[in-house]
Subunit: 421 residues, 2 copies
């Protein structure tokens, strides 16, 4: 690849950006991959870091290591602050810039508080490795403080964990936290009984897992209740603070609140100065290009893309990967002289969520599965999709270890004295 | 154990505190274990976390999990702020307190800058998990920034790492960092050649590994130079700042400086209001008690203990463990009515240090070993002493993986947005 060849810049090494880069292998282009982190994060397993089952390095992998054999790809650690659409340059927050011929923005989403950013300090969300270690620390510290607390009301608030949002992340957090409290930590404290821990899952809608079939939502509710989770439906949260959480006319004293209720796209639309939906997703053309800038594509959680039936393409890894492959094919066609717009068509493979370490709900449309078989299928699918043989092996061993012994490997409370980790 | 039985309070769950608690198993006492961390840290392997070979959860283990079967032990997460010797109470920074009949302080040491605390932001030391992830982040970020740097002098400063202190930690850091740069990261960057990384080990004395036999020091110097490390002897460091490090009349531009040169004891002497040596270690009686307070013992890095020949007992794990067992035996004897003072006698088992992943230097006194055989012995010894079967297995797998493939598992740069990890 010489310097004069077509230069493709990718921002974001998530599922979409990486899949795009892979699909461009062999194309007559040079690629620059830009991310503000040095690692790709396997977000579907992030809740397991937050709940002490996996170590951070089991769900994250250095981007430049993943791309080391691709001599056509340069990986840069940099934070994007804007896009100069006229000059065709991506701008960095440190004053640097890089020019592009084609640009792909695959920058993902953060959690959002529906206009209540003041809730964030009390109700952390789960999108990054740091989010996961923050949540892990808060959960573990709550038990440590409860062990030393003598006031019964304060102790009960320390032993109450509220999870806001009944999607897959909320369901998975609730199921693993209740198991952590009732099983794994049992017998390790002398002044508290961790089996008295209350885990409350709060969903504003009328059922959890709203994207799944009704029967799977019902199954998941029952399975969670059987594990010991209290499921609260139909009342949105109206306050989060140091005392707890308010939903409807209920005030639940809880020292640990976790936020799994909403996402907002990264600021790609702001960088571009183009229209976005309410969650900040760029309103792209059917071929995933930005209106007026056919050389710029936006995919994944940063893009607002509709299905033929008018529903939105969901913010899941398979959708981002399909879009990445689609854009790669478009670029290859263009370089071969075919500039016909190629509309993206989403193919929905299914939805899945685990409930603790013994059950899961899987909705493939044509088949619905629950219970232990679904859990094993979920585990196999996730191990299969994990990047890198080492990680697959490490995660498999960690899970088998937990499954067999009930012990968890990553129960660390860490806190820096001079710096962030 | 009823509430009226003899209450032993242990502060610090390092090697000394844990060994003491183990040795007291079955004694007619109840024990409270206090630590400001929730985990025991296997410090001899901490440099491997700092250099991306091991994950944090592979070298640390929750204290209350280690002690879960000991129904006579209560584990508390708390930060000690003082000792009330008259009232026989340990005081916490949050206003809490706990009464003791016998107290063991096994609170370890921090790194020290010989009166130059202003160097700390530029030259982090390695004592805690956070220290290790801080160092890991700085090392990895230096390469990331070098990949984007266009000024040749700045780039070379980014690719220069200085390690201050030629003891085992400094030697081990230098050896693994040079391997990381020259082997593991090779081929992953497009604008820099990581083989041009300079690793400089700076020792004020006339040889590295000063506690080892001269021939092993010479061997280690040669082995490090062969790996590509520059060893600088005989000139103490007189400045550390953002530009680099000064020793003698040499100013070495280096963006990464690591501190492995000195330790200071935890503030146990301040808590007690008793005499300490220059490094803050409590000047204990020969039986490890505090002068004037026979019910208080200090062991490990927090204590200044002399050998029969007048040399100090070294600050290594075996010394702390021997002292822990000694104090446990003393307490058992006292409870049986024997209050004769029992002087502690240190038995030196040997010294060992690794040099990269292929060599080590071992000094058992009666036998000295170097090279690959020494490395394997070192590895077996450390795996054997690791706490918990799971950790042994995980560390063995991580090492075999690195040994076989040259890949490392924990190359993560993490940095919190709202909180420390």
């Amino acid at each position: 690849m010489n310097e004069s060849s077509h230069h493709v810049v990718v921002v974001g090494a998530g599922f979409g950006g990486l899949e795009f880069t892979r699909a461009l292998d062999g194309a007559p282009v040079r690629i620059t991959m830009i991310d503000k982190r040095n690692h790709h994060l396997f977000q579907p397993l992030l809740y397991q870091v937050a709940t002490t089952a996996l170590a951070t390095s089991e769900v994250a992998w250095p981007i430049r290591h993943l791309l080391r054999k691709r001599k056509d790809v340069t990986t840069l650690l940099a934070t994007v602050s804007g896009v100069d659409r006229v000059g065709k340059r991506v701008l960095f927050d440190d004053g640097g810039a890089v020019a592009y011929d084609t640009l792909l923005l695959a920058t993902g989403a953060r959690h959002a508080y529906f206009g209540h950013d003041e809730w964030e300090p009390f109700a952390p969300g789960l999108k990054t490795l740091e989010d996961a270690t923050t949540i892990r620390r808060r959960i573990l510290l709550a038990f440590e403080e409860a062990e030393r607390e003598t006031d019964p009301a304060k102790r009960q608030a320390l032993l109450t964990l509220a999870i806001v949002g009944g999607g897959p992340t909320g369901v998975e957090l609730a199921g693993t936290i209740v198991e952590l409290a009732h099983d794994m930590l049992r017998g390790e404290f002398r002044n508290i009984d961790t089996r008295q821990t209350r885990v409350v899952l709060i969903e504003a809608g009328d059922r959890i897992l709203p994207n799944f079939a009704q029967e799977l939502s019902d199954y998941a509710s029952k399975a969670l209740e059987r594990l010991g989770v209290t499921v609260e439906l139909g009342r949105p949260v109206t306050r989060c603070d140091a005392e707890g959480v308010v939903f409807g006319d209920t005030h639940l004293p809880a020292r640990t609140i976790l936020w799994a209720a909403g996402v907002a796209a990264s600021p790609a639309a702001e960088w571009l100065g183009v229209a976005a939906d309410r969650a900040g997703r760029v309103l792209v053309e059917p071929d995933l290009t930005v209106p007026g800038s056919p050389e710029i594509f936006v995919i994944g959680d940063a893009a607002h893309v509709l299905r033929p039936d008018g529903r939105m393409v969901p913010g899941v890894a398979p959708a981002a990967k399909q879009q990445g492959r689609h854009v790669a094919a478009t670029i290859k066609a263009r370089l071969a002289g075919d500039t016909t717009p190629r509309p993206f068509r989403y193919k929905h493979d299914g939805d899945l969520a685990t409930i603790g370490k013994r059950a899961a709900a899987i909705d493939f449309g044509w088949i619905k599965l629950t219970g232990r078989l679904a859990w094993w299928l979920w585990g196999l699918a996730h191990i299969y999709f994990l990047i890198g043989f080492r990680n697959r092996l490490a995660v498999s061993l960690s899970w088998l270890w937990i499954y067999a012994t009930g012990q968890r490997s990553a129960r660390l409370i860490t806190q820096g004295d001079d710096d962030r980790n």
